[in-house]
């Protein structure tokens, strides 16, 4: 056992830092550092910087443009991205659809779709949940009927993150209703520009527009957009959910945020001193940091097991629950740090304007973040479903 970085790893870390210092676009950085909501173009601008360097699809096989980095290098890279406060990578193409295509797709499909994902020329979104199918995803009803060389798709998808920006959507659709529900599901790629696709915003309690309803009304989809066999959709979905689950804990981001909260505590006036003088608050901050260390090393154990070629151990199932618990606890501690100044509400357009913020500079996004982050224990398989997975698959209950 050796948990320290080698000289080569440290050299790599330096290389990443130098690259980010030179290439992280200043306008995107300004928005991130000031809590200004990002536009579609901001995400793309940043992600294309990584694409150009060949550092975007880092987990992909090298033949498709992956990096071939070791687990340690990936860990270093993710931590540096977070430390520089870069935008979260929009995962739907690179971390979700891409792996499905290079694992289950035909050679034609790989050639057609992978380069555009790797180079950030196409924005993907995910069509999984439906109004009646949340935790019970396999009960989904969106129907795809084969007519000649086309599928005719009808149904409604919901909670579709950033669908308003997307060029394509990958969908779970029902191609067969006769047998058990998991067996009639297929994995279909749909061009968002197709006639019959309509996107409607869902506004969440933090006032933001992040998720959407996607209505599919007699949408014609070429049969060659099917990934894998008809009826293979559920096993593809499970493969994808496992992919989604690692990394969903957002550990590097949490490390940066905890550091930031510590800096805030040093500077935020409280009576004739600072917030750091409040022992009860600092106790909570320190306990959170210990929990974070535990989550971080649990994630590293999982990654190490995966890189050694073994199956990820039971610890991988803990990551989503542990990571999201931490994300929520930290977002709450930011609210506590602010006291009354957590309450003023600024809309997304207020945030984008140059008007002076109410209260401390960092205040405006704190409560929206806490409210928005109620979602993390709900999405990606709710934490209740995760517990069922651990009970069944790990404990054998």
């Amino acid at each position: 056992m050796n948990l320290s970085f080698s000289p080569e790893d440290l050299k790599f870390q330096e290389e990443v830092r130098t690259f980010l210092e030179k290439n992280y676009p200043a306008d995107v950085k300004r928005k991130m550092d000031n809590g200004i909501p990002l536009e579609r173009e901001d995400h793309l601008k940043w992600q294309k910087v990584l694409s150009k360097k060949g550092w975007f699809a880092i987990n992909w096989p090298e033949e498709h443009g992956g990096t071939g980095w070791s687990i340690t290098q990936k860990h270093i890279f993710q931590n540096e991205l977070a430390a520089f406060n870069t935008p979260n990578i929009v995962p739907f193409g690179v971390s979700m659809c891409g792996p499905v295509i290079y694992t289950f797709g035909t050679e034609e499909q790989k050639e057609r779709f992978l380069p555009a994902i790797r180079d950030n020329d196409v924005w993907w979104c995910q069509g999984y949940s439906e109004p009646g199918s949340g935790s019970d995803l396999a009960s989904l009803k969106t129907k795809a009927e084969k007519k000649g060389d086309k599928y005719i798709v009808n149904g409604t998808k919901t909670w579709t993150t950033m669908a308003q920006h997307a060029d394509w959507i990958f969908c779970l659709v029902r191609t067969d209703s006769s047998g058990i529900k998991q067996e009639g599901i297929s994995f279909l790629l749909i061009d968002m520009k197709s006639p019959g696709v309509e996107v409607k915003p869902i506004i969440t309690i933090d006032g933001s527009h992040e998720v959407n309803m996607v209505y599919l009304d007699n949408v014609e989809v070429p049969a060659e957009n099917l990934i894998g066999e008809e009826g293979a959709g559920w096993s593809i979905a499970k493969f994808l959910l496992a992919h989604e689950r690692t990394g969903i804990g957002g550990i590097p981001h949490l490390k940066r945020e905890i550091k930031r909260l510590r800096e805030i505590a040093d500077e935020l006036p409280l009576n004739d001193g600072f917030l750091k003088d409040d022992d009860l608050f600092m106790d909570k901050l320190n306990k959170l940091e210990i929990d974070l260390l535990s989550a971080e090393f649990t994630e590293l154990r999982t990654l190490a097991a995966m890189s050694a070629g073994g199956h990820p151990g039971p610890e991988s199932s803990i990551l989503k629950i542990g990571g999201t618990d931490l994300q929520q606890a930290l977002s709450e501690l930011f609210v506590e740090a602010l006291g009354y100044y957590a309450h003023p509400f600024m809309s997304e357009s207020d945030l984008a304007s140059n008007e002076k913020r109410i209260g401390p500079d960092f205040a405006a996004t704190v409560m929206p973040h806490y409210l928005n982050f109620r979602k993390v224990s709900i999405y990606g398989g709710s934490n209740e479903v995760q517990r069922n997975v651990i009970a069944k698959a790990v404990l054998g209950l």
Partner: protein, 375 residues
């Protein structure tokens, strides 16, 4: 020992419940929150006609001799309907400061208008650094001739945008954290040198940042004795803490009801969510926590009613509990609603937002734990 409400109290409860059912459904509340004023001035006057605004004041002040228990009844019922009209800033804070310390002239001029709903007021007592400490006052008032000259800054002043007049806590002597030397002044919102930045809070209420620069008010605007206001401020904030805790208990009751209802209708895996034992146990927990919190509310209200020597300690016990119960019930209700819980469309998220801001208002759990230990 008797926990039952009086007939009059039950009538008040019933009156508000009927009002909410008939005139204050969720979509109406949403329209009011998004309107220019942020609440209904018409409904506010209706509350005046109901007698709710004069309820918790002595007859001598034109009130109905109501006490903390009556206040609890009103606010708990308000909580179930998420009433956004500014009862606490106007009635509990400004009204009580005047009732307890005001001169006959001040009372005569202001209280009738406050009770009829014509006049809007608020109490400006928080500063950026003061957090929950009522003794932390840097806004200064200096007597020059017959006028006080006021300079300073008040943060997140509840009901600031609608207010015609503020009662402002000012330091007339001593240093930043001294309990002695704090005075209360009535300042008209349109006074020269007073500027306010008005905004909405996440819970649908409104507030202001108030800057005071060389504001001059006549000496007769002083409420009570110069430098001696701290004790009364503290008592009135205790009463407001009880009131907002009652609102929270009403919200918790409603959130539990909404969640139970939702889980009985939402089906996944071929059965309603309410059939899953893992979820049943969690709803049992939130049910128990609401009941336990309500017990502390009744305890604190009774102690305040009796002017018990340990009533401040009881209020801190209550508000500590409100903080942890609001977290549990608020977060669990959203989680059990799944994705729907985080949408603007459903009322549950709006109850959650108000319950979340109440965790902070008049002191969070940490503050009241410390205060409880020190009393």
């Amino acid at each position: 020992m008797d926990f039952a409400l009086s007939e009059e109290q039950k009538q008040v409860q019933e009156l508000i419940t009927q009002f909410i059912a008939k005139d204050y459904p969720f979509d109406v509340r949403e329209k009011l929150v998004k309107s220019e004023d942020g609440f209904s001035k018409e409904y506010w006057k209706t509350f005046g006609e109901f007698g709710l605004l004069a309820m918790p004041f002595p007859e001598g002040d034109g009130g109905f001799n109501g006490g903390p228990v009556d206040l609890m009844v009103i606010l708990e019922a308000f909580g179930t309907g998420l009433i956004v009209e500014p009862y606490i800033p106007n009635i509990v804070l400004a009204g009580n400061l005047l009732s307890k310390l005001g001169s006959d002239d001040q009372k005569k001029e202001i209280l009738p208008k406050l009770f009829s709903g014509e006049l809007q007021m608020s109490f400006a007592f928080t500063e950026p650094q003061s957090r929950f400490d009522l003794n932390d006052v840097t806004t200064s008032a200096k007597l020059e001739g017959d006028n006080y000259i006021i300079d300073g800054y008040k943060a997140v002043v509840m009901n600031g945008p609608a207010s015609d007049k503020f009662i402002v806590s000012c330091r007339t002597s001593g240093s930043q954290l001294d309990e002695d030397g704090i005075s209360l002044l009535i300042i008209d919102k349109d006074s020269k040198g007073l500027s306010s930045r008005d905004y909405s809070n996440v819970d649908g209420s409104k507030a202001s940042e108030v800057t005071l620069e060389n504001v001059s008010v006549p000496k007769s605007n002083l409420i009570g004795d110069e430098g001696k206001a701290f004790k009364t401020i503290s008592q009135v904030i205790d009463l407001a803490t009880l009131a907002i805790s009652a609102e929270a208990v009403g919200i918790m009751q409603k959130m539990n009801e909404l969640t139970l209802e939702y889980t009985k209708t939402r089906e996944q895996f071929g059965q309603t969510l309410s059939k899953f034992q893992a979820l049943q146990h969690r709803m049992v927990d939130t049910f128990m926590v609401h009941e336990q919190t309500k017990s502390l509310l009744l305890m604190a209200a009774a102690k305040m009613n009796d002017n018990a020597p340990d009533s401040s300690k009881a209020v801190s016990a209550l508000k500590f509990q409100i903080g942890s119960a609001a977290k549990l019930i608020g977060e669990e209700s959203i989680q059990l609603h799944g994705g729907m819980g985080v949408t603007e469309e459903m009322s549950i998220g709006h109850y959650f937002k108000r319950l979340t801001t109440i965790r902070t208002i008049f002191g969070n759990s940490d503050y009241h734990l410390k205060r409880y230990s020190s009393l």
